[in-house]
Symmetry: D4
Subunit: 246 residues, 8 copies
């Protein structure tokens, strides 16, 4: 945020005092929300809209506010119903149904360094798609490698080169999460593990997969919250940008 | 228990009424314990002494009672201190320090069908030895395969033939217990998993390894209590006897 | 998998390169799934379809793939709705409603050695049927002994001979799971315990029954996940095959 | 508490104002404690001293205060060290080491109706003794039936008459606590269950036994806190007094 | 069960062999259930039907079987829908909606000794009614004292005489369950505590109330499972019968 | 409660004996509830109606009873459906939809000392509104400061003066609840923290936010139950009255 | 912190640049710690030293740093061993053994408005003393009311006036924590509840008391961490200052 | 691992068959351990010795084996006692007492890109030192920023530049772990969070800090196991190497 430039614009009457004041404050006051307009400057990415606890009106209002600065818009955990409304209001937007993400102005891809998104099973795919769409929206290349859980470990070995050559590896697994440790023992890249709530009984809605991953006997593994495909991709994206020298 | 034979012996005055009464009741009354003298007839193995909550005097008294019938004696969770006392009283006994087991009259080995005892790490060895000594005391052959955890999965593959050719496979692991799922996906023998309390933080004293194993994506796995090497070997032994046609 | 034979067939143009490549890889790539075509060779049983997290289209596609090799098909946790669709597509299939299993090409029974499926109560029967149908689909004889919980323990004793003469005993119980310990103390066969989520309050959706079974004072007991009738039968089936000398 | 009588005694100068005031307040102020002198009038039994969190000086001071009214003194959870000091100060007191109870002026037994104290194993005996000594101190007859756990259920049946003929049955068990349900299904007397912290792994220091007992499939069972032998006996004693028409 | 009499009836052809065999076995085999016909002889009360996990057809079949012996029928946790069906089939039955109990042939009241059913709040009433109806069906007098929680403790004191004069006191409370300790400190009768799942957040569906009650600083309290009004009344009924000299 | 005055009124026949008796008892007996009519005298505020477990008829009856004394009525956790009915019966009442509160006769504001109600996110607003409406109904001024969570901490600093100048600060946050510690470290007023159930996975329905707040490294923080906006405002109101010299 | 004054002092060479720089930074850099020198200005009280995780050398160094500004020093959770060392280095300091607090330069008492510190039992006293000493060190009057738990509720009523007349009430209880709800229902002052780890079994080291208090049916209660006597007193002190018009 | 080169050496008799066989197998068989000699080739770093569950003899033997290849040796969780023995055997090694790490042949630093190691409090320093020493041993520059927890948030802002300019940020915090979210909201670098077991009561040995961090409202945060300073540094090191173009 260039303070001098803002003040100059006010002086030149190119910028209203209300708008200048908002730009200096670093957030837009919407009453129900204070949209963080400095997020990209501070964190490298603009504010992402977590759709679950918000009404479609709230998502829409925040989107509109962020669009003023032509920011990349990513709204996660958006239901099909809400997506229909958003699509109507923002026809240039795109809804990824499996990922439950609504995207506007995605960042264009900057290189062929890719993030590998690996799942243990078929039921983990919705979390994987949230990760993949997030990473792509943030300008990363992504390679999807699904259903290579350790019950049939030859499926993993058949895809090992694609995993080893990635910039960062996201491993997504429910049940006992054993795939994370196996992958972690075979690669020299950062592994970001996402436990999923897939399973029953002692899976405890993903707590077991989470604890399993935190206890991984393989060293280069860090973990995000259960079903948090977005968070894993966000982290992977930061790391991938490092490789690209940003 | 042959009732007619007992009664005949009483009639012939070959057996005291007190002893006959005890044999018919199926247990020896020691006051603090009622030693189950019919356990072998019912379950295939004589009563095993769980040493943890018992004084050395109690272990000794139960041992003495079981010895009357020349039974195989196995006392588990016996500390070194208690073992010294027991060794003094029963010089023909043997104390396995790593396994913390005291053994008398072990059953002789009946065949070359073996139980594989596999561990993920070095710290799991004490539980593994409890399992191995139990299995050997009950007359089984045992093959020990230690420290083949998935962080270096080539160590497992180098030992896979020995695991595949076993009659039953006991897999012992702490931390995240991923080894169980990998082994379970590679063999067609019963896999009995033993979670250990090895680990820290979210390992929760073995609960995470346990839940992980119960959620294994591999199908032929059943599980026993945390650190219960004895229980795994007991089960494996019953199954191994089936193979031997008993 | 006979590699030489596959290569010979390619040479003879009896096998397309695509098909040969799939056979050598050991799995069929369906995009959302990598169907494990070597499972039977490795584990003794073909891949089983866990129906819960899958759409009926996914179940159907995997079924079709497995059918190419005329494999025994077992899909578990299949709802009545999905079953109607599957039945339409695979008219020779059979849906077991109580067990929620869809079966095609069941293995024919090989002997009279049977697996006993024992329940504590009436509410445990759906889990028991999953176990029984799984075992039968895999070619085992099964004897069902339902509602013999310890609140009326004479019901158990009246059926004890059938339990004792089984090859393997599966005991299924919710609430406090006490039946497992009583049965475990009376038989010399492997006992596989299945905790169920039947109960309320401190039952904690089956966790209490599970922990109870893992702490059983009877020795020959191993445990599978809550409500996992399939897993218990899979294990029992492996053990029963041992008895039959396979 | 007869208020008129107290006031009369004050008037007659037979009672100091300090003492009268204390009697009317219903407790003795010791600074660190307010000893409840009306407990017997309200609850049927005088205040019992829980020894665990208290110094021996505190136990001693409360004992002295209670002795003024010649009350029955029961101090539970008293260590051997504290007991030596107490025994010195109150030579007529008796210390039950296994029960860890210090007793003075026990109530004399009023009838032959007895409380059965039943344990599953040998390691449960210390809790059982706390129960038995409490019941005896409160004037009840007690029958001890130890080590009749369900792993050898014939030991229970051999003692069933003694259990059935009791006025109240206290069942004490650790591990999975299955004994409670079996006994509960065989008697028509109140069964008070005491879970113990005996066991390891998923026993969770007695929580599993506790939850198991609360989920008992047998109906006439109520439960007290883990290792709370005292509480079970207190309840049993109240019930036994009912039978005796008190 | 009079064996001689049954055999005599068979001999006299007054009893079919099928019926005699069932009477001797002690249960009726219904396939999905083994109805315990000796429950009353053993436990003092006939088998009670827990309605939750059962279809209305199963409840109906068990009811029919129990009716053959003109037993008192109590089915708990019966929904309104199931009740309509049952009422149709057994028009002489009565459905208590608040208690969710279906009753046939209630035992007639034997004395004026009553069980007090006390609740902390209005939301605990459904559990309280299950307790009250159970107690009444088993022939006890009941006094209901509702909404006397400690936030307004004068409401409790205004009803204390009715509580003190009861034979047994059932205290039902959710949230923090404090009422149990206060009542326990004021009466000399057995107090049976029922935690309810009333509350939110850290109430944990009644676990907090349960643990609170198990830790009560008042001594004469025992506890049953969360929301288990039936179990409390069953216990209270056994104790009340003792007072009546049964 | 002026006893003399009540008795005088009875004597003068200005008050019926029934009504006098109710006033002296301190509660109104409604059968399903005993409405605490002395709550305001004892606690400073009249009884508040917790709407969740109650039927609209019950809420209505209690409201009517409280209205007799012209008390301020606050019913919390009232659904929109119930509110329609209440609004019909009590047209002068007002329903706050976001707060889910029904209010009648709110206390008029007494001063400009205000309570700050601060939230971390947009999804916490419903809990915040319950707090704000409660505080306003009890006569407090309220300042709402929403969506100032630490992910964009400049939003908090921009509002810090309003927070610092409050009489009491209520901080409402889900997820990890970090806002509480940051605010606690910046103000010298009492901070009352309300964890919300906003979040997923390891949020555990608010338990994580709760435990986080209880462990706050900032000292002047106390905590109420998860989502308990009412409780926080009740506490804040008591404290605010102190400032106003009440 | 008066910035102008500091700069003036630097200019006048009354203050070294190093010291001025530290004063402006708001903390003293000790390497292992950054002592917060602005805490009193921000929060009303200087930084308190939590002694548990710190060596006596660290406590001593922080004390020395704080003493430079003649601040009130309070170090909590200080063991007797550490206290001896501190007493040697700071002879004017005082160690409160029961409270485990080391105090220097306590604030002098400003009024007779007092904080009531109430405990349920004798074992809660160490936590109570931490609260009382903290409050007194911060310049508050304190009234101690110990051992008034609800098992003998008349002891509470005998002390109710002292509780009602307090400015703030701290209630400290372990086990089931019922005292909090009873007190909360009887007073119109803020009640700050401190759960203690006193108890056993399902007390879960104080978690049960904590959850119980958070679920209190009485409204004006807020809670601090288990055994956190200091935190309760800190809060109470802030509130008490409000009454005193600070 | 260059297979051809190994075989050539065998042919040339430059390498014994035993040694070649070990090199080809990828691990050294020590009986109690299978040292992974390919770890560096696969994962970028040689096998690290976790010292906790191992005897000093075991640590020593593994060290010796790894030294043959002149590998960097890092043994973590090594007690002072074990360190004395190791220092004796490997005099060129260095023991970092605060970090509890034993190091031999550390990798030399390759650049000035540094990893920031940030702690909330003084008690978190031992975990921080494990992280810092690990990172340095692996050739990274490290900047330590200790005791900047949010209770005095100006301490954090005073050090923000050093944090923002790091390559990767490790944030270490116990209690409620709020520092992680605040830092995460202010930087555009990967943040690896380490929860510590520092705290008491509801801290639950670090589980609360862990869950708090997993629920962080800031996006670029991933988490490792409780107290796992090593794991955080391992991850940070992999990422830092990416920046350095490795």
């Amino acid at each position: 945020m260039n303070v001098t430039k803002i003040l100059q614009s006010v002086k030149n009457e190119e910028l209203s005092i209300a708008e200048a004041s908002k730009q200096l404050s670093g957030f837009s006051e919407l009453g129900f929300a204070k949209v963080d307009t400095q997020r990209k400057a501070r964190n490298g990415y603009p504010e992402v809209i977590y759709g679950e606890g918000k009404t479609v009106e709230q998502i829409s209002a925040i989107t509109e506010d962020l669009l003023k600065d032509k920011k990349t818009i990513l709204a996660t955990r958006v239901s099909l119903e809400k997506a229909h409304v958003l699509k109507n209001e923002f026809p240039e937007g795109y809804y990824y149904e499996a990922a439950r993400c609504f995207v506007l102005n995605p960042t264009s891809k900057s290189s062929e360094n890719y993030i590998a998104v690996v799942t243990a099973g078929t039921s983990d795919i919705s979390v994987a798609e949230e990760a993949a769409v997030t990473a792509e929206t943030f300008g990363n290349s992504v390679k999807r490698i699904y259903d290579v859980g350790v019950a049939g470990i030859h499926r993993l070995f058949a895809n090992l080169d694609d995993i080893k050559n990635a910039s960062v590896v996201i491993v997504i697994a429910g049940m006992e999460g054993a795939l994370v440790s196996v992958v972690g023992g075979l690669v020299d890249k950062p592994v970001i593990a996402v436990p999923t709530s897939v399973g029953y009984g002692t899976n405890l809605d993903g707590i077991t997969a989470l604890f399993s991953m935190l206890n991984s006997c393989s060293s280069g593994v860090s973990v995000v919250n259960i079903d948090n495909g977005f968070g894993a991709a966000y982290n992977a994206s930061i790391i991938n940008k490092i490789r690209e020298g940003e």
